[in-house]
């Protein structure tokens, strides 16, 4: 396994069995996968497709029925690999009787960090996830978004090289979702490897370099997002300030070359973009009705 490969699975499979050892469900059929250093990799699929099972097998939370998973060239069951891993579970499974500071301090201790480093790291992460004002509040008083953010902070406490995010935007509002996506891109810029699984396709499309699509525990597609999404026989032209005459001329040119004009219209923005523009405007001019150019392109 080359140094460039962070995660490798070889015919990794998982069958859930009942108490008597009878097969209940085959959650993952033999999966061969390589995830490279510095990429953002997405595991896509509907509920029950085997995404979370794959993540759990990679983390050693489950034992494979067949095959094996290697992380940093170590077996998934080798605890020492966790030194370089950060994991954000689907829901932030944290101790609700601790406050943010205690939570991060606790997880930092699990990495055997000395007191000074621990304090600095906890401070920096609390500020990074925007929980500075709530650092002394118990997690049971946190909203779902806040819990998610402290969950992310615990996943980053050891400044990991590999971050595994299970449904990272689940339960987040659009601003939180955008911040999470920005965070993932920032981690990528820092050279980290990010593996995320999600069924929110737009999120995956926005941040992932490569994706694997799973369905019924089977790998259906694997490749670069841009390659997979490129439609080879369709050409898209985008222009600004085109007159009606110009548009007619373009139609003529397409017809002359035996092409088929599929659509020529003014594009609409996404609801996410509109929402974020309104919130930004509201923050800039509090107390006034939002004034956002709906025709403005992103």
């Amino acid at each position: 396994m080359s140094d460039d490969i962070v995660i490798q699975t070889r015919a990794l499979g998982k069958v859930y069995r009942d108490f008597w050892g009878r097969q209940k469900v085959r959650a993952l059929k033999p999966l061969d996968l390589e995830i490279h250093r510095g990429e953002v990799f997405g595991l896509l699929g509907p509920n029950g497709s085997g995404k979370t099972t794959t993540i759990k097998l990679i983390l050693g939370l489950l034992f494979p029925t067949e095959g094996e998973a290697l992380v940093f060239n170590k077996r998934a069951t080798d605890v020492s690999k966790n030194e370089r891993i950060g994991y954000l579970p689907e829901e932030s499974y944290l101790y609700r009787f601790l406050n943010a500071e205690e939570t991060l301090d606790f997880y930092a201790r699990l990495f055997d960090m000395p007191a000074e480093t621990r304090k600095e790291r906890v401070d920096a992460l609390i500020k990074m996830v925007g929980l500075d004002k709530a650092r002394k509040r118990q997690l049971q008083e946190y909203s779902k978004g806040m819990t998610r953010r402290i969950g992310l902070a615990q996943a980053l406490i050891n400044n990991p090289d590999l971050i595994l995010l299970d449904e990272p935007t689940s339960g987040l509002d659009p601003i939180g979702t955008r911040e999470m996506k920005d965070m993932i891109l920032r981690l990528k810029e820092e050279g980290k490897t990010v593996v995320m699984c999600s069924h929110l396709l737009a999120d995956v499309q926005d941040v992932c370099d490569r994706i694997a699509i799973l369905h019924q525990g089977e790998l259906k597609e694997l490749g670069r997002v841009d390659t997979l999404l490129t439609v080879a026989d369709v050409t898209q032209i985008r222009g600004r300030n085109l007159s009606v005459e110009c548009q007619n001329e373009i139609r003529d040119v397409i017809a002359r070359h035996q092409g088929e004009l599929m659509e020529m219209a003014n594009p609409s923005t996404t609801l996410e973009e509109l929402f974020l523009s309104i919130v930004r405007d509201s923050e800039a001019r509090p107390g006034r009705r939002a004034n956002v150019e709906t025709t403005t392109s992103a």
């Binding site: 050892g21 759990k56 983390l59 050693g60 939370l61 489950l62 034992f63 069951t77 080798d78 605890v79 020492s80 966790n82 030194e83 891993i85 994991y87 579970p89 829901e91 499974y93 944290l94 101790y95 009787f97 601790l98 205690e102 606790f106 997880y107 201790r109 699990l110 990495f111 055997d112 615990q154 050891n158």
Partner: protein, 606 residues
């Protein structure tokens, strides 16, 4: 006080054990080896069944090698972090409620405990210490059995095991965390119960002026007064006063009072010696039968409990204790009397009533086991089960009517001294066990002794926590609790459990007992030979083998408890404390290793 098993010197217990048995260390390693082999075999069978014989072997090999490496990589910082978490969790689970319950028990105890009991200190001390034991073991059980399963249920364990945390650290962290919480609870209970016992039993008396009578010496000069105190706390004392009006209220109900002069009246001060810590020096007990022939035991008077055996009155039957290392440094001398202090407990068995409550007469002699020199008979009166404290005078008359010195003439050159007790009344019997006669060394501090008893409760608590945490690595909360409860119950009845496994108890093994129960057969008669009987005994052979194996790892909670020492006013021997602490350490280490492998070989997620 009953002491069924001799307390061996610590080093002997550790390395060689009592004659015919193994020392604690070799026993620990043998049991560990047995467990290791069983674990390997079981692990391989499961792994081979799931993954095939070759891969199964590979998995078992990797589990063992990784396990050894990871156990050596245990990080104190991570263990401490997990221990702190366990403490916070315990606090969140309102563990402090246990203290409230304890305080309520103390408040109501003073309503129901009788202060007119012959030995109220024994009653109070045994009550508070027993209550503390059960309460603390209950808390330890609940905390330890439900903690890890709670983490599995809420999935918080995901965020722990995906950090570089070794499974052993999780087990050890929980054990240490809950132990600290339990220690704090125990400390508070210890302080409050000590104050409770002392405050409840403390009392004073007035001197009954009308009872005072002058005491004169040989020249008819008044040297003081005798009398008694008023009746308070259900008892009164005889008093002896000097001409200054100062003196003592004599021992009754296990205590005395000092009497001092304040102004023009004599004042009885608070009770002394309610809590004591007698330090006994035990000897070896042998017997002579009624014809004077040496025997290892006396006769049986029909009691099923064979702890004591008896000497019959007005015969040559004698109980003989041989003490080692006797010298003049053991002598007690207060100016008025000088001699070797002894304590004696006699169980009296009567074959005819006589006068109820009247003491039975016995005799004490000392003998030099080397020269055979024997003192003349000193008679004494024995009340059943009462601790008699007396001095063997330093100046003794021999059977030849000559005067001898106890230490020079009755102690052999190797430092041995024999003390012989006989019952002098025909038809009556004295019953003795080895600890019933002891030489009294200076008393130890009752407070320190109380602490030692709490230390033994602490040891039991730690063992329960370690069992609970280990069980909870693979079992759900309620099942882990039941498992731990079974361990505790079997541990309290371990001698009986071992007896059933060895076939020394009446009624046979579990299947035979069940058969006798449903067919209403008594436990003494043999089962008639039949196919059913053969099948039952065959099944019992399997059960007994299993029970005997289980008994090897079963903690003997009854032997760990030292409540009886404090209740009867005896110092807990240091050897006992060291043995308990060593056993505790062995259980924690052993169970942490077992817990490591159990947690390591289970899937954390579902």
């Amino acid at each position: 006080m009953v002491l069924e098993n001799e307390i061996l010197p610590y080093l002997q217990w550790l390395w060689s054990g009592s004659p015919g048995s193994l020392g604690a260390v070799p026993r620990f390693f043998l049991i560990s080896l047995g467990l290791l082999l069983m674990g390997l075999m079981l692990g391989y069978i499961v792994a081979a069944a799931r993954h095939g014989m070759l891969r199964g072997g590979d998995i078992v090999y990797r589990t063992i090698t990784t396990g050894i490496r990871e156990l050596l990589e245990t990080s104190p910082r991570r263990v401490w972090a997990l221990a702190r978490l366990a403490m916070k969790e315990a606090w969140r689970r309102r563990v402090v409620v246990a203290l409230v319950i304890f305080l309520i028990i103390l408040v109501f105890a003073s309503w129901f405990l009788r202060t007119d009991h012959q030995d109220p200190a024994k009653l109070y001390i045994s009550f508070v210490l027993t209550a503390t034991t059960y309460l603390v073991l209950g808390i330890a059980l609940l905390l330890s059995a439900f903690s890890l399963p709670g983490d599995f249920k809420t999935k918080t364990i995901y965020t722990i095991v995906t950090k570089p945390v070794r499974a052993g650290e999780i087990v050890l962290g929980r054990t240490i965390g809950f132990t600290i919480v339990g220690t704090i609870l125990l400390a508070i209970m210890g302080i409050s119960s000590y104050i409770f016992v002392n405050r409840s039993l403390d009392h004073t008396h007035e001197i009954d002026i009308s009872s005072l009578k002058n005491v004169s010496d040989a020249n008819n000069e008044t040297i003081g007064q005798d009398g008694r105190t008023t009746l308070d706390a259900h008892h009164r004392h005889e008093v002896e006063l000097d001409n200054e009006g100062e003196g003592r209220a004599l021992s009754n109900y296990g205590h005395t009072h000092e009497i001092v002069k304040r102004g023009d009246r004599s004042v009885v001060l608070g009770a002394e010696g309610i809590m004591r810590a007698r330090v006994p020096k035990w000897g070896k007990l042998t017997f002579l039968d009624r014809q004077g022939v040496p025997k290892q035991r006396g006769i049986s008077v029909g009691s099923e409990w064979t702890y004591r055996s008896f000497v019959d009155g007005n015969t040559q039957a004698t109980a003989i204790w041989t003490f080692d290392n006797i010298n003049a440094s053991l002598n007690y001398d207060d100016g008025e009397q000088s001699g070797l202090p002894i304590g004696l407990i006699v169980r009296v068995f009567r074959t005819h009533k006589g006068i109820i409550g009247k003491a039975i007469t016995g005799s004490i002699q000392v003998r030099n086991p080397e020269s055979g020199l024997t003192s003349e008979v000193t008679p004494f009166s024995a009340l059943d089960a009462k601790i008699e404290e007396r001095l063997i005078p330093r100046k003794l008359t021999g059977t030849d009517d000559k005067q001898y010195d106890l230490y020079k003439d009755f102690v052999s050159s190797s430092g041995q001294l024999e003390v012989r007790i006989q019952c002098l009344e025909r038809g009556q019997y004295f019953g003795f066990a080895q600890p019933d006669l002891y030489l009294r060394l200076p008393d130890a501090s009752p407070l320190v002794n109380y602490l030692k008893v709490y230390l033994s409760i602490w040891v039991q608590m730690v063992i329960v926590i370690a069992i609970g945490v280990t069980a909870s690595t693979v079992l759900s909360g309620p099942v882990a609790m039941l498992f731990t409860v079974s361990f505790i119950v079997l541990g309290f009845f371990r001698p009986f459990f071992v007896g059933v496994a060895l076939g020394t108890e009446y009624g046979g093994g579990p299947v035979e007992s069940f058969y006798r129960l449903i067919t209403q057969k008594n436990i003494i008669t043999k089962l008639e030979e039949s196919l059913i009987a053969t099948l039952i005994q065959g099944a019992d052979t399997v059960f007994k083998g299993f029970m005997l194996t289980l008994a090897q790892v079963l903690p003997d909670f009854s032997a760990l408890s030292t409540i009886a020492f404090a209740a009867f006013g005896f110092d807990v021997p240091a050897d006992q404390v060291y043995q308990d602490l060593t056993m505790c350490l062995a259980y924690v280490i052993g169970l942490a290793v077992v817990g490591y492998f159990l947690l390591r070989t289970r899937e954390v997620a579902r």
